[in-house]
Subunit: 753 residues, 2 copies
């Protein structure tokens, strides 16, 4: 098959870069001092019997992180980043991931290496067999497995662009077999560029059979984790490959197929023989060392290069018979992996030839990536730029173990710096980031269907759920949130059911509202837009209100909505009750933006200090918002006879806002445990009356310690659909309430999360 | 009790006009020629065993329309208007309501007057008893019953403003008993002003005992429907009232309490004796004739007057002992009712005294209404302005029966002029008006919780449902409409489930979208905002698109939304499938705004003619929208080489729009019965996959007659939550599909609607 002729056709070109990717990444868990941990796989992570993202490899200490299949480099990296964050933050606070492929110093006694404690006994038995056959030490090495699939449209267009092969299924198989053979032939280039296991740590090698370190990659060399030399398989055709693999198992040279540690695997069915039914769906590249300079072990550039390399493998012609071609590749790969990293490779000329051919391909096929290729080509003449050489240089300066510790700690700190965010998804709402975190942690398959719209798909076995904005789910009816969105109707419904709600009226015009002045002026009342977000447009009057102030309040409210509510202002403290599935899972007190004086610093300085907390950010990217010093805050100070350069006395609390919304710099204080049970019951019953499953209901309560007796003991202000969750998860003061986990429990009762 | 002293207090004043109202209105059903109908109570109306709004009184031909209890005059009138519309439009097209209290000419044989065919046998037996005791003819008279309740806060404030009566319950009873006695004393004024039964028609009186017509009100006179003279009851106290009423029943003078035809009734429990438990909740005024000049039999001014009159009855002192006072009132009432309408009343002086006292009350209590009172007071000196006199004048000109026919037909035409609207609620969305119509018709209690927000409460027995915008209900989950609102995610979900959806991409910036030009330019595609209403911002390109046109399309779409979708344009015809509860209830073809030429008139003239249809309006107040001749339409004409003054040939169809939305003047054509079943099944399955219960799903189908076989036979464009219903109910061409009834069936399966 002349694949080049197919690839250059116009009908094929638009689809050339179409592909799907998946990454598996192994890492040893170590202490912050760099020693292999003695703890079990993290308990907070869902069961390894089904976990799609966080597994263990050979040993109990060896994490295996698995991304879902994605259709872009950005997505696969985002997923890996996220799973990495979840894994790191699910581990005890004194553990981190070892950034190198080669493990840290191993225990003196091999029995101290703990085989993964898997639930499936067959999995344990297999690991015990491996330990006997290869020794436990060799199993402790980590790497990246890169799963690659040519896009279906690409395969289809290539198929249409030829006439030689009539069967689409056979064509696809031939495409992948060619790719595999060429990969085996040219894979040395990957090792040259990205080999990153130049040195072993103590007790990795337990006998004299070891390379002369440093090398480019112990892991991909014959000293790495490879089968015994008598295990040989042909890649000429899928049939031969399958037969010979089966023969190896039949003869007892392999215990089962998966013991065949080839640098590439054809994937599709559960077993190789299934491939005749399923076809080859994708291929798995297994010869990639962890890039220790990347938190997740692989960079975007590496993936882009691998993608172009795959296209090149399809593009370039094979020059020998299948078996000879692969055997030649194996020889070269082993040789290159054992070269000294800082030395020029013996295959420099072939390396340049590959790059020249790749550049020509990129040019002919009008692909992007020429710059990236040229950059990597430069490494051929500058071996000191390869990963192995860079590690070696650092090793010479301070020792490989110290380097690993430094890099590991740096990545550890990155993962913990903003624990309320999830790497790869930081531009999404915090609640959704937290929900994704929890779902990944518990082993629920997640997929973001629309980032901008906060639309997430969850799946566990056959049970699928869609979630928008963190808590808009199938568990609520359509009408309940619409009811909550309408404050007037909410009040009618609650009042009729016997709940105490502030009396008020809705006005559709400013003129009409102005006429109502005499009815409200004498008592405390609040003017607010009928629909409000973040407390915008709300003014509170505490009694004896002047007409001008009243009219000003109306103007502010009508600027936010066509309809405005004026209602009785209830004295007392407002609490947010987060109700889900007939339970109060959190109660929060929100206090308006404020600072507490120290007798020395000005209000401006105190605000700056408070704003420096990593919990405070802007535009809802953090659990709390920075306190502003805008017009409203300065007005509020002025009313208290203060300015931003005033210096409050020690312990004097100065408020900068009337409203207590977290979104305008307010503090959030968890009072779930302190709130009298009777009010929680009230909140639950009110949410029931509204027919809602998830609601943030706001109650005014004069005394939260005194059990509810009469209507005077509380008033319901409003019920919020899609209530903020992150302010409960990361309160300014008090206990964190992980509401996103409650959402998952509600959605997946069968999982017993 | 000095009620005047209580009423003038500041604490009472803000609540003086607080009240609740309910109206019952009887009407005889007649043919359009004015003859009593021979048909049964309309079958389309829900069962009389529970119907809260539409009942029958004595005879099968006598409708009784009952409003819910409301808190304002506007609301009670709106309800009555609506129920009136429903009743009229539920009757056969050749029936209408007789506008007078006095019935039309009655059958010669009394047996031809059909007693109401009620399900409850006791109700039938009671009517048979009445027929025996009073004769059927007298039962054929109609009137208004006006239920009035002083506001609870008003009663409470009055109670707090006195010290004489310590029990709130007793106080309330005394308030209502005083009102009742004064009402009985002064009710003649109501008869003077609003008496409207001056003349009887043929065979109403079947013996010589009849008044000398014309009078002010046959109905309220001793010749009306009154008890025999031996039935007497004291109003001194509730206890005496109750005892004596019971005694009348015990002695057989009345068959049961409800046979006591007093001009006022104390209401609260089911029986009078219950009032000791329940207290008097409200009073029922029964002496109000139908105002034949008002479609609903009573005017807003009459109700306002009655309200002030009730306050006056509380305000003014009684001047004799209870029994003497009532007896005096009865005498005067009978006398006034039998006066000649055009004559000055014998009680002119007392009439003026009452008005003067009322005006003084209004002044002292700072109430509105003085103008209204002065206007009615004028009628004392101008008896020709009273209702009875006005009827008489018309009678003299053309005969009362002809007047009744004329008025009845006028009201009939009003009810049928815009059958898609519901009187009293015309400013609401058409779908909600239709839903309210159906609910009232079927006997589901309705309440509009928020007119502007289209928020409606429905209730049947204990089963309550909230509905917004006609079909947003508890039957859908929260997430399903959110999913449908996101076209991108909808397509992902549908495509994964194996449905054919047009391939496309979403862009968040105009620059990014511009870059995609080469990928779309060669084939047919559509550019549209991610979220769109009424088809705004959509441009269709049918292939070989120029870059400038492409960019213009992007600008139009990005003006409507931050995100824009570009997708494959599927050739074929677009159909809207309305799916509810796993059934396709309507399929609609929408054609773009167009006119069909006659070879004579210009496009402008043809448009004007088409727009003259009562089905076409503006701003969605009618089922179809008027065709505009704006920029877009003129551009479209220009592309066809036409102008608005061009004269199309006979039968030439000229399109004025690309898009087929009804909202831009398109035509709606019902094709439910013509659509092949296989596509209906597809629509149902797709809606199931989206997890929705109610959806308007748009399919492109090249051939609706050819059963679905492959993906090429259809494509799903989008699914709409809250799909328009009125375009199916009132299509331009084809059969009406009453989807609002389907919504009610879905919500209330137990009712077997």
């Amino acid at each position: 098959m002349n694949t080049k002729n197919m690839m250059v056709q116009e009908m094929v070109k638009p689809f050339l870069l179409q592909a799907r990717y998946g990454i598996e990444k192994e890492s040893q868990r170590v202490t912050l001092e760099g020693n292999l941990v003695r703890t079990d796989h993290p308990a907070s992570v869902g069961s390894r019997s089904f976990h799609p993202y966080i597994q263990t490899d050979f040993s109990e200490t060896q994490l295996e992180l698995i991304t879902p299949v994605t259709e872009s480099v950005a997505e696969v990296l985002a997923s890996l980043e996220a799973i990495h964050d979840v894994a790191q933050r699910s581990m005890p606070k004194d553990e981190m991931m070892w950034p190198f492929s080669m493990p840290p110093a191993l225990p003196e006694k091999e029995e101290d290496i703990q085989i993964a404690k898997l639930e499936n006994h067959a999995d344990v038995l297999y690991r015990r067999y491996l330990a006997r056959e290869y020794g436990k030490r060799k199993q402790m090495v980590s790497g990246i497995h890169f799963n690659f699939e040519y896009g279906l449209d690409l395969i289809k267009q290539l198929f249409l662009a030829q006439t030689e092969e009539a069967s689409m299924e056979n064509f696809k198989t031939r495409i992948y077999m060619k790719t595999a053979r060429n990969f085996l032939r040219y894979r040395w280039l990957i090792t040259y560029l990205f080999g990153a296991s130049p040195l072993s740590e103590a007790r990795y090698f337990d006998n004299a059979d070891r390379p002369k370190e440093p090398v480019r990659s112990i892991r991909t060399s014959r000293y790495g984790y490879v089968n015994k030399p008598d295990v040989q398989v042909s890649y000429e055709t899928l049939a031969r490959y399958s037969e010979e693999l089966a023969e190896n198992v039949a003869q007892g040279r392999l215990s089962e197929e998966k013991e065949f540690y080839a640098p590439i695997r054809m994937r599709g069915g559960k077993k190789v023989a299934d491939l005749f039914q399923t076809g080859i769906r994708y291929i798995e590249l297994r010869n990639i060392d962890l890039n220790p300079f990347e938190r997740v072990g692989i960079s975007s550039d590496e993936i882009e290069f691998l993608h172009l390399f795959m296209l090149y493998l399809l593009w370039t012609e094979e020059k020998l018979s299948a078996d000879e071609w692969v055997a030649e590749g194996n020889r070269i790969s082993d040789a290159v992996s054992l070269e000294r990293p800082t030395e020029t490779t013996a295959y420099l000329a072939e390396g340049h030839a590959i790059f020249e051919e790749m550049l020509q391909m990129v040019d002919e096929l009008e692909l992007t990536g020429a710059d990236l290729l040229k950059n990597y080509q430069r490494w051929l003449d500058h071996p000191e730029e390869t990963l192995a050489a860079r590690i070696l240089a650092l090793d010479e300066a301070k020792g490989q173990a110290a380097v690993a510790l430094e890099l590991g700690q740096q990545f550890y700190e990155q993962a913990w710096a903003r624990p309320y965010q999830l790497a790869g998804f930081q531009e999404m709402e915090l609640s959704t980031q937290n929900l994704l975190f929890d779902a990944i942690q518990k082993g629920i398959e997640t997929e973001v269907l629309d980032r901008q719209d906060q639309f997430v798909k969850l799946q566990h076995k056959d049970h699928q759920e869609l979630v928008k904005n963190g808590n808009m789910t199938s568990k609520d009816t359509y009408i309940a949130p619409l009811l909550m969105a309408n404050k007037t109707v909410t009040k009618i419904v609650l009042a009729r059911a016997g709940f105490h709600v502030p009396q008020g009226e809705t006005f559709a015009s400013i003129a009409e509202a102005q006429k109502a002045y005499p009815r409200f002026a004498q008592n405390a009342f609040v003017i607010k837009p009928k629909t409000t977000n973040y407390g915008l447009g709300i003014t509170i009057f505490k009694g004896e209100t002047a007409l001008a102030d009243y009219n000003a309040g109306l103007a502010i409210a009508f600027a936010e909505d066509d309809e405005v509510i004026i209602e009785e202002f209830l004295a007392g403290t407002e609490y947010r009750f987060f109700v889900i599935n007939h339970q109060v899972k959190a109660v929060l007190l929100r206090t308006p933006a404020n600072v507490i004086g120290d007798g020395k610093r000005s209000i401006e300085e105190l605000v700056a200090e408070k704003n420096a907390s990593p919990l405070r950010g802007i535009n809802h990217r953090s659990p709390l918002e920075k306190i502003q010093l805008g017009e409203l805050e300065q007005l509020m100070l002025k009313e208290q006879g203060l300015r931003i350069d005033s210096i409050p006395e020690k312990d004097q609390q100065v408020f900068l806002r009337e409203n207590s919304n977290v979104s305008t710099g307010g503090d959030s204080i968890d009072v779930t445990d302190e709130m009298d049970e009777s009010y929680k019951q009230l909140a639950i019953e009110a949410v029931n009356v509204l027919g809602a499953s998830i609601s943030g209901i706001d109650l005014i309560i004069p005394d939260k310690d005194k059990p509810y007796e009469t209507a005077a003991d509380y008033g319901i202000i409003e019920a919020n659909f899609n209530p903020m969750m992150h302010m409960h998860i990361y309160p300014y003061i008090g206990k964190s309430r992980r509401l996103t986990t409650d959402v998952l429990r509600f959605l997946y009762p069968e999982m017993n999360i």
